[in-house]
């Protein structure tokens, strides 16, 4: 195994061999999860705390399931009701948590960089489950695994990431990961939802959906947040769907065997037509959910191995000192 990181805070610090290594291990967990008995003792004796400062159902339950299948003691902390609402700072919360001696912290936070801040204050391994508009590394890894399984490779593909790019941590992590793997990347969406300097991110930028999808192997749709629609970045949901919503006619511009992805939850009839989302020949959206558990198991397994190795080395040093 080449994966040596202590935390998984983003895709940015990972090398291509580390990514491949993680995906290879995740592949074994896919088979493992399809077994009748799904229990391993990889995280036996370790405590995993899921801290979600922002609402999440899919990601949180995916991490919870992953930890339990690996034998960890899993605790979910509902941060909305936590002492943070009573005025405690994030750092104080981290220190308090640290005193409880967890081994794995899974953190989602609405502010970019908050997970990095927390990781710098605790002794355990931290996994970023999404921070603001910054990164969502396990989502990018599960997307990569889904693509690799569907297309047979993770290189030299034309991948169109479509929709609300500007606010998407999923898009950012995917851009980095898929870019490291030497794919041809395209960003497609209205100019108002395109981050400034998008063209400098090593990808092609399209405002026309049909042009952006032309010849694509992978069509990755992003959620458009309905709360941003009124008077914000786009005039209306109906205009958005007309121009940038994925329907059969626009999908026909992509390659005939192009796969359709979506990180969920979906707004049917806004960014994606329901029939496309449900088309088992094109949509891999359910596969993404399955890969999510496997990828998170692999990530936690690798981090736990590194954590144990680090603690073992430290204990050995301490015994020499004595």
């Amino acid at each position: 195994m080449t994966f040596r990181a202590r935390h998984l805070l983003g895709i940015e610090p990972l090398s291509p061999p580390e990514i491949v290594s993680l995906l290879d291990l995740a592949e074994t967990y896919v088979a493992f999860n399809r077994r009748t008995v799904k229990h391993s003792d990889a995280l036996e004796g370790l405590t995993q705390i899921n801290m979600f400062f922002e609402p999440s159902t899919r990601t949180q339950s995916s991490f919870e399931l992953a930890g339990k299948r690996l034998g960890a003691d899993v605790m979910n902390m509902a941060m909305a009701q936590s002492s943070l609402t009573k005025g405690e700072t994030l750092i104080d919360t981290a220190l308090t948590l640290n005193a409880m001696r967890p081994d794995l912290l899974v953190v989602r936070h609405q502010d970019s960089g908050a997970v990095n801040l927390l990781a710098s204050k605790v002794d355990c391994a931290v996994i970023n489950a999404g921070d603001g508009r910054h990164e969502h590394p396990t989502q990018a890894l599960l997307d990569a695994l889904t693509i690799r399984r569907a297309k047979g490779r993770l290189q030299r593909l034309t991948i169109a990431i479509c929709g609300d790019i500007a606010h998407s941590r999923v898009a950012r992590s995917n851009l980095i990961l898929l870019g490291k793997m030497e794919n041809r990347l395209r960003l497609v969406g209205p100019a108002t939802l395109m981050p400034a300097g998008a063209a400098d991110l090593g990808c092609e930028v399209y405002e026309d959906m049909r042009e952006g999808l032309a010849g694509a192997d992978v069509v990755m749709m992003l959620r458009l947040q309905k709360e941003r629609m009124d008077g914000g970045f786009i005039p209306s949901a109906r205009e958005y769907f007309h121009r940038w919503g994925l329907d059969a006619e626009k999908l026909a511009c992509a390659k005939p065997d192009a796969i359709v992805m979506h990180p969920g939850p979906m707004n049917r009839g806004v960014e994606i037509d329901g029939t496309i989302a449900d088309d088992i020949n094109r949509s891999v959206i359910q596969d993404q959910v399955e890969m999510g558990v496997a990828v998170r198991m692999a990530a936690m397994d690798l981090l736990a191995r590194n954590l144990r190795a680090e603690r073992g080395a430290r204990a050995a040093e301490e015994s020499i000192d004595v």
Partner: protein
């Protein structure tokens, strides 16, 4: 109908020429050679030019048909040599949805002049939410503007400009600092002080323009300023052009031909938005049109009924009708030597066509046969009650003018003939 205009003084804004010649029309389009059997029209040495394209016309439909209907506006237009009306969206309700635009477009198809609609930039022109710009563009909206209701929400305006850039739409701005100009009915200066009118500095125009141009630079939007009327705004125009921004600039015929002293004894027909400027500003605007810094001249036709004008100056509704007086008023500039006829037609016909992507505004083969035949020297005294507009609010009432429209053709069909 195939036509052959002979013995005409052809005003060609593309070639910037003014010379005697002939012009042929076949099936509504200008052609190189007269088709056989074409009806010959001897112009008697009078001027034949592309029909005017008047950018920024208010029509009272829907909501204020008592002030102006599409039918009366079109009648006034063709009598004034205007073959294409670029209508404003400040109707009641405003044209801010594809449905409203479709209604207006359907009604406009029944009249003698061509009518293209601008749509509002924000819903209800309230500056809070952008309109469905892509649907409106698909439905035929030619540009987007909230008119004189300046969008003060800079974030919204920035997003609207970004969105417009994405779909290739043109935004029309009204350069004015809304806070500074609130409540003003005159331009700051000696005249306004003596008359005791609430006034605004021309600096408000420059400030509004500078803000909008900064947003254009930020977003890369296609942008047009409806009315530049102040000399202090001109350096910003020059900077924007040097920077290569996709911008154009317009002004109004009233600001080119009248100044603040014309208000005289608080005559409300001279109440405009922005208010009439100093003579120095007026002369500077003429020079800017002549050298191309300002691209477009429009009438900003704004019909107001008697009740809206029979009020104290500051309380009276601003604006004047202009469709029928645009051409004779422009002749003042020609006779004074400020602008040649080709220069005027560049600003009143060719440039608006180019900026709005319309095929007209030129005399070249392939262009639609939208034409005006006029006598630039014919004198008359304007009687506002002879105007075809439903509203009669013109500052030129009783004025000595020169320049008569003799005939107007739209798509090769004669839609007006002077009796």
């Amino acid at each position: 109908m195939n036509l052959h205009f002979i013995n005409a003084r052809l005003i060609d804004p593309e070639a910037q020429t003014d010379a005697i010649g002939s012009l042929a029309v076949a099936d509504g389009v200008i052609v190189a050679d007269a088709p056989e059997g074409a009806a010959t029209i001897d112009c008697g040495g009078k001027c034949l030019a592309p029909g005017l394209i008047d950018w920024g016309v208010k029509i009272g439909e829907p909501g204020e048909r008592h002030k102006e209907s599409l039918r009366s506006a079109a009648a006034a237009a063709v009598a004034g040599g205007v073959t294409t009306i670029i209508a404003r969206p400040d109707t009641l309700p405003p044209i801010d949805s594809p449905e409203a635009l479709e209604f207006a477009t359907r009604r406009a198809a029944e009249v003698s002049a061509r009518v293209r609609h601008q749509a509002a930039l924000t819903r209800g022109r309230e500056g809070a939410e952008m309109v469905e710009m892509a649907f409106l563009s698909d439905a035929g909206a030619i540009a987007f503007t909230d008119g004189v209701r300046v969008t003060t929400n800079t974030r919204l305006l920035s997003r609207a400009m970004t969105y417009a850039r994405g779909i290739g739409a043109l935004i029309v701005g009204h350069p004015q600092d809304a806070d500074l100009s609130r409540g003003a009915s005159a331009t700051s200066g000696k005249f306004a002080s003596l008359y005791g009118l609430a006034a605004v500095s021309t600096m408000a125009e420059r400030m509004g323009l500078e803000r909008d141009l900064a947003l254009v630079e930020l977003t890369g939007a296609r942008w047009h300023a409806d009315q530049i009327t102040a000399a202090c705004a001109l350096p910003a125009i020059e900077r924007a052009r040097t920077a290569g921004l996709d911008v154009s600039f317009g002004t109004s015929i009233h600001h080119l031909t009248l100044n603040e002293f014309d208000v005289g004894d608080y005559r409300t027909f001279f109440r405009f938005t922005p208010p009439l400027r100093s003579e120095d500003d007026r002369v500077a605007m003429i020079e800017a049109v002549a050298d191309g810094r300002i691209d477009v001249i429009g009438s900003f036709h704004t019909p107001q009924d008697e009740e809206s004008k029979r009020l104290p100056f500051a309380a009276a509704a601003p604006g004047a009708v202009g469709l029928e007086t645009l051409l004779p008023a422009a002749m003042r500039l020609y006779h004074q030597g400020g602008l040649s006829l080709p220069q005027l037609w560049r600003a009143m016909s060719l440039n608006p066509a180019r900026r709005l992507g319309l095929p007209g505004g030129r005399l070249t083969a392939g262009a639609p046969a939208d034409l005006v035949l006029f006598d630039p020297d014919a004198p008359f005294i304007l009687d506002r009650f002879t105007l075809r507009s439903k509203s009669k609010n013109t500052p030129f009432d009783g004025a000595r003018m020169e320049g008569r429209v003799l005939g107007t053709w739209v798509g090769g069909a004669q839609v007006y003939a002077h009796e």
